[in-house]
């Protein structure tokens, strides 16, 4: 996909360019808010990454201008101040996601994938049943079955599985899961995600031959998109 990045730190911008390019994306990096606005309104990007603090126009102003121009392109804000108020301000201005600096590259990649997918999914009807091979999650009756066998899940496990299935084929990082499943805006000291994932695994994977839920070391978790 085509990604526009506004990052005034040249070195970091270069790394982002290199990293995202090697992940197979087409990247435009600009170091100034005005250039970012021009690029965003004149070319067709799948997703836009805006640093919050940049010379010229700052990221928030660029975001407001993009939205004022009627562009619905998904926007991820990069910020050094990862606080509730900043998030609210950014999300109010029309940002789709938020990532605090410094970040793991895998985290950025996972979030950008999720955002681009959200853009595509717009308009298509909400599915009532999510599937991965022989695993089925009925969102209406809140039932989980694998190979026709009913599996009991706690509400947290259900939400975890639902999140992983909705983002099937895309890595979900720890912080993404903490936000989406548990609504936590911070990373707990204890291993909350690991514990819940391991419990979910013992219910949906352990009794079966094929393992659906994979751990991506240093990145997160994924349920593969199958044929």
């Amino acid at each position: 996909m085509r990604i526009l990045v506004l990052e005034d730190d040249e070195q970091l911008g270069a790394y982002l360019d290199e990293g995202l390019s090697s992940a197979g994306h087409q990247v435009d990096v600009v170091g100034d808010g005005r250039h970012a606005l021009t690029a965003a309104t004149s070319s067709n990007h799948d997703v836009v990454v805006l640093d919050r603090m940049t010379p010229g126009l700052d990221g928030l102003a660029v975001l407001k201008a993009i939205r004022a121009a009627g562009l619905r392109v998904p926007v991820l804000m990069l910020t050094v101040m990862n606080q509730v108020e900043d998030r609210v301000e950014g999300l109010d201005a029309g940002a789709d996601d938020y990532l605090a600096k410094p970040f793991a590259f895998s985290e950025l990649l996972a979030r950008l994938n999720a955002l681009a997918r959200r853009g595509e999914a717009d308009g298509s009807g909400e599915p009532t049943t999510l599937r991965a091979q022989d695993l089925e999650l009925d969102l209406v009756r809140r039932r989980c079955t694998r190979a026709g066998q009913l599996i009991e899940l706690t509400s947290m496990e259900f939400r975890l599985l639902e999140t992983l299935l909705r983002g099937r084929g895309r890595v979900q990082t720890k912080t993404m899961l903490l936000e989406k499943v548990w609504g936590l805006g911070f990373v707990p000291t204890t291993s909350v995600v690991e514990t819940h994932v391991s419990r979910l695994r013992s219910r949906i994977d352990k009794p079966f031959d094929e393992q659906l839920l994979r751990t991506i070391r240093g990145a997160g978790y994924v349920i593969d998109a199958d044929a």
Binding site: G19, E85, G183, G218
Partner: protein, 448 residues
């Protein structure tokens, strides 16, 4: 009603205005009363002087004449024609002359006597002076009608003047008091807004008449200065964050991109992440303490919040051999920022998990006044309890356990943001730690 009285009692300006008015009214009533009394004394003295003179005059004539009968007739006549004075004389031998008024002769000195029916005057009060004279006891009397009426007029006048003065004083006092109180209230509500985190609140006095206006102006000036300083400080911390975090981001990116995956790289990344985590923690405490999040306050159900924490950390506790249970004794809703409150309770639960040891039983209790986390671990020695709430304090025995020592400090900052009190005490049964978050009464939207 008692609430109203209590509130009125706390309004200093109104109270002192009313107290001053009360003193003024009391003093003017006392002064009026004293003046009336003095005037009456003066009037009485005047009448008494006349009576004494008349007594002496008559006494001298009686003494000189000897012709009692003639004299009696003359005076009787005179007295009747004047209709206002009368006399009677009792000789030592017991003979009575003049008006046959034995009740007069029974008295001595000056006195008021009721002589009903002697003269057709409106009042029957007479002022009488009785004293011995040559050859007997002589009584002279004058109708007290005029003097008593004068006294009544004096009294009524003073009463009327006193009443009017009091009413005017009370109305004036109330008006001054209410006006001053209103100015005080304006300053008070502004200070309340400022302490609630709204540093752009100003008293903006309309005039510059007196020291209250000056006080208001000084408050506005110092608040403006504080606001500016805080903005500068915030700008500074944002700049520091930006200046430090961007290089950290660069370092992290370089580690990730330029070195092949290896245990060494993971260890280096872990150290960078540790620095970032500490840094975020410090920044978050600073931001929570700045109070900006107050603008995001909304109703938060404490039971719902406790359920979230128990559902999230329950499995973590079980995996380390502990238990985490919910004990909802009430379901209050408080005004707060949900995300931060979850973090508060989560930090308390994690503290119990990390320091409680294996097979600790942890309970998250919801009470009508707040939320508490209890465990049956070793607890914290009393002399360390206040210190564990300070940033970066780590207990000797916990140096080996994970965490950057900011969890409880952040919990305390979040509690303070909500004007709630975080306390760490021994449990009542003495076994384990009890961490309580007690919200102030005004934070509750509903309670059960």
């Amino acid at each position: 009603m008692p609430e109203l009285v209590r509130r009125l009692g706390r309004m200093a300006a109104l109270r002192s205005a009313l107290a001053l008015t009360a003193v003024f009214v009391l003093v003017s009533l006392l002064a009026g009363g004293a003046a009336a009394w003095l005037l009456e004394q003066e009037l009485e003295a005047l009448v008494d002087t006349t009576l004494t003179e008349r007594h002496a005059e008559l006494g001298a004539q009686l003494d000189a004449a000897g012709e009692l009968e003639r004299l009696a007739a003359t005076y009787d006549e005179w007295s009747k024609s004047h209709r206002m004075e009368l006399w009677s004389f009792e000789t030592d031998a017991g003979r009575t002359l003049g008006e046959p008024t034995p009740q007069v002769l029974e008295t001595t000195g000056y006195s008021y006597v009721d002589l009903e029916g002697i003269f057709p005057t409106e009042r029957d009060d007479w002022r009488v002076f009785v004293a011995p004279t040559e050859g007997g006891r002589l009584a002279v009397a004058v109708s007290a009608e005029n003097i008593l009426e004068s006294m009544e007029i004096v009294r009524n006048t003073f009463l009327a003047v006193g009443l009017v003065v009091s009413l005017v004083a009370i109305a004036g006092g109330l008006a001054v008091g209410v006006a001053t109180q209103r100015r005080h209230d304006r300053i008070l509500s502004t200070l309340q807004a400022i302490s609630d985190g709204n540093l752009s609140a100003r008293v903006s006095p309309e005039h510059d008449r007196d020291d209250v206006d000056t006080l208001a102006r000084r408050i506005d000036e110092s608040t403006a200065r504080t606001e500016k300083l805080l903005q500068q400080t915030r700008g500074l911390s944002v700049n520091i964050a930006h200046d430090l975090k961007t290089p950290l981001a660069r370092l992290r990116a370089q580690l990730e991109r330029e070195f092949p995956a290896s245990p060494e790289r993971e260890s280096a990344l872990g150290q960078v992440d540790g620095v970032i985590e500490s840094f975020d923690g410090i920044l978050q405490i600073a931001r929570v303490e700045a109070g900006d999040a107050k603008t995001l306050f909304a109703g938060v159900s404490l039971t719902d919040l406790a359920e979230t924490v128990v559902a999230t950390f329950g499995p973590v506790a079980e995996d380390s051999g502990c238990t985490l249970a919910l004990r909802p004794l009430a379901d209050p809703t408080v005004l707060g920022e949900r995300g931060l409150l979850v973090q508060l309770v989560a930090n308390l639960v994690e503290n119990s998990l990390q320091h409680g040891g294996t097979s600790t039983r942890i309970e998250v209790g919801v009470t009508p006044v707040g939320i508490e986390v209890l465990d049956d671990g070793p607890g914290i020695p009393a002399d360390e309890r206040s210190e564990v709430l300070a940033p970066h304090y780590r207990r000797e025995q916990s140096r080996s356990t994970p965490g950057h020592g900011l969890g409880l400090a952040l919990a305390k900052a979040i509690a303070e943001l909500h004007d709630a009190e975080l306390s760490l005490t021994d449990r009542e049964d003495g076994r384990g730690l009890r961490a309580r978050v007690v919200f102030p009464a005004r934070a509750f939207l509903t309670s059960s």
